[in-house]
């Protein structure tokens, strides 16, 4: 068995692969043709067997989610979540810009497997080129008879609509995304019911992340067993790790789940080491909504279970590396501003809490804080986390609580010295 396999990015550097012709020359849409020969339920079983878990952040098993679609006579919908906006995450944009047909193929196979007749691709508003690329791919696919009535001569018909967001992080949360798609403000809905039961326009709805859907064609093409032969016991296959921050070679790397964090950061093929050959101070393993890991965790296998056991989350796969020269208080303050600005304002703990957190952090960062502000931060986090309407509130606290736990002396130094320990 090869050490690893590129299920998603194999052809990303092929010139012209964003167009339908070159994409097809490299095996594109063969998986769709194969899928249309199978019974939809069999495809759902195949996905279950593959062990694929959602790449949007929560890691919910994809095949299982498809099998939870309510069985009633309401129209079913699929929505691809391409609202990518989690700080540290930049894989979906790359997939849409450079492999838009892979996404379209994934959308089509998934729609067929889930007996969906109308699919949406919700693209973040700030990514107009990505949206144009996806729209172009959809248009080409209509033209080629891959979308529309009786695709590839089968009795299956499907419509695909590309929908653009307009600037609101919260619309990546699936229920807010549905509100937005239905033409309203992007406020989250109460869950459950999950979209699989009551979703878009009240119908059972599959919502999957862009990368999740891009993985589907390879699973159908190569078989679930082959896909599942990569990765770990419970975290199967490969995923795209987006490496950013203070590393020599930031970028998106598709690697098997379970790869040691150290390999990702230091291997010459991937991160190539820390910028200016400094030491790692902390790593945020899955986008800014996840908890810090300290330098003692560098040998951690990057799979869902191991990262959770180490006190964080694999999240969106955005690995952010911070070196010893960076002031942790400043970095946390910056991350906190994001949640303050993006809180949708629907519930009080998050709306008010994120504001106070930012105020306190800026005060500490600028040397004007007091010792009790540090405990106050922890206290406010406790009043937001678990008490907010949606997970954005929880997310706003993760770097603060874990940051204080790991680097309390840096916060205290700001108070006692009026400036930071480093730099």
């Amino acid at each position: 068995m090869p050490e690893t396999e590129q299920f998603l990015l194999k052809n990303i550097n092929v010139p012209g692969v964003d167009g339908i012709e070159v994409y097809r020359q490299h095996g594109g849409y063969e998986a769709l043709a194969k899928a249309l020969q199978s019974d939809p339920d069999q495809l759902v079983e195949e996905l279950k067997k593959s062990g694929l878990r959602g790449r949007g952040g929560a890691g919910f098993p994809t095949g299982l989610k498809w099998s939870f679609l309510a069985k009633n006579d309401k129209p079913r919908y699929l929505c691809c979540n391409s609202d990518e906006s989690e700080p540290g995450t930049f894989k979906d944009r790359m997939l849409m810009e450079r492999l838009p047909h892979l996404l379209v193929e994934g959308v089509l196979i998934t729609s067929y497997a889930c007996r969906v007749k109308t699919a949406f691709i919700y693209v973040r508003g700030e990514l107009p080129y990505a949206a144009d690329q996806v729209q172009k791919a959809v248009d080409e696919a209509y033209e080629a008879g891959l979308i529309g009535s009786n695709i590839l001569g089968s009795d299956y018909s499907i419509d695909v609509i590309v929908h653009r967001g307009a600037g609101a992080y919260i619309c990546g949360e699936e229920s807010a995304l549905m509100e937005s798609l239905e033409g309203r403000r992007g406020y989250p809905r109460l869950k459950p019911p999950f979209p699989a039961v009551i979703g878009l326009y009240g119908g059972p709805t599959v919502i999957n992340n862009c990368e999740t859907l891009c993985t589907v064609p390879a699973i159908i093409q190569h078989g679930a067993d082959y896909y599942a032969s990569f990765g770990t016991e419970k975290s199967k296959g490969t995923r795209i790790f987006g490496l950013s921050g203070q590393v020599k070679k930031p970028g998106n790397y598709e690697l098997p789940l379970g790869i040691p964090l150290r390999t990702l950061i230091y291997d010459e093929r991937y991160g190539g080491g820390v910028l200016n050959d400094k030491q790692v101070k902390a790593v945020i393993p899955g986008g800014s909504s996840t908890f810090f890991l300290g330098p003692d965790k560098l040998d951690l296998p990057m799979d869902y279970e191991s990262v959770a056991a180490a006190g964080s989350m694999l999240g969106s796969g955005g690995v952010i590396v911070i070196n010893e020269d960076t002031c942790i208080v400043g970095a946390i303050a910056r991350a906190a501003e994001f949640y303050r600005d993006e809180s949708c304002g629907k519930c009080t703990p998050c709306r008010e809490g994120t504001y106070w957190l930012t105020e306190l952090l800026e005060r500490l960062e600028h040397g004007k804080g007091k010792m009790k502000d540090i405990d106050l931060l922890v206290d406010i986090c406790g009043n937001i986390s678990g008490k907010s309407f949606c997970p954005l509130g929880d997310a706003a606290t993760s770097l603060i609580t874990s940051g204080i736990r790991l680097f309390r002396e840096e916060f205290e130094y700001h108070v006692t010295h009026g400036h930071c320990m480093v730099g």
Binding site: P87, E126, Y129, S180, R184, Y201, G245, P250
Partner: protein, 154 residues
Amino acid sequence: MISEKAKERMRALARRYPAARSAVMPSLYIAQEEEGYITREGLEAVAEAVGITVDDVESVATFYTMYHTQPPGKKIVKVCTSISCYLRNCDSLMEHLEARLGIKRGETTPDGNITLQGAECLASCGSAPVIQVNGQFVENVTLEKADTLIDELE
């Protein structure tokens, strides 16, 4: 002015979706394309095409940051200020641009040419720091590269 053609595009969108109301966001984009920002007339045109009240349309338009309530500069320069860009010195990039353009973030040059904005993570963290000009990416931006960019825009 919202042209008849634009209104027809909005009505076509309202027919394209399973529920007409879903066309409100794309229609707002059309209105903005026509007039540069969202005017009263734009809101009315969308309301009529989609079949909801003007207040309803306005409540949607004001929720999303990409619908402008005022005419922006010809070129909108966004500098990402989120965590991965922060770790790659986006703050000095922003300061440099502010000094060069003689405006603060959020402002527009007096000639109405360039609006400078801070932005949240633009999904380009692996090529930080990053700037967007009217939606187009400029990646791995150095101060020199930023100067060249402004030379071109001016």
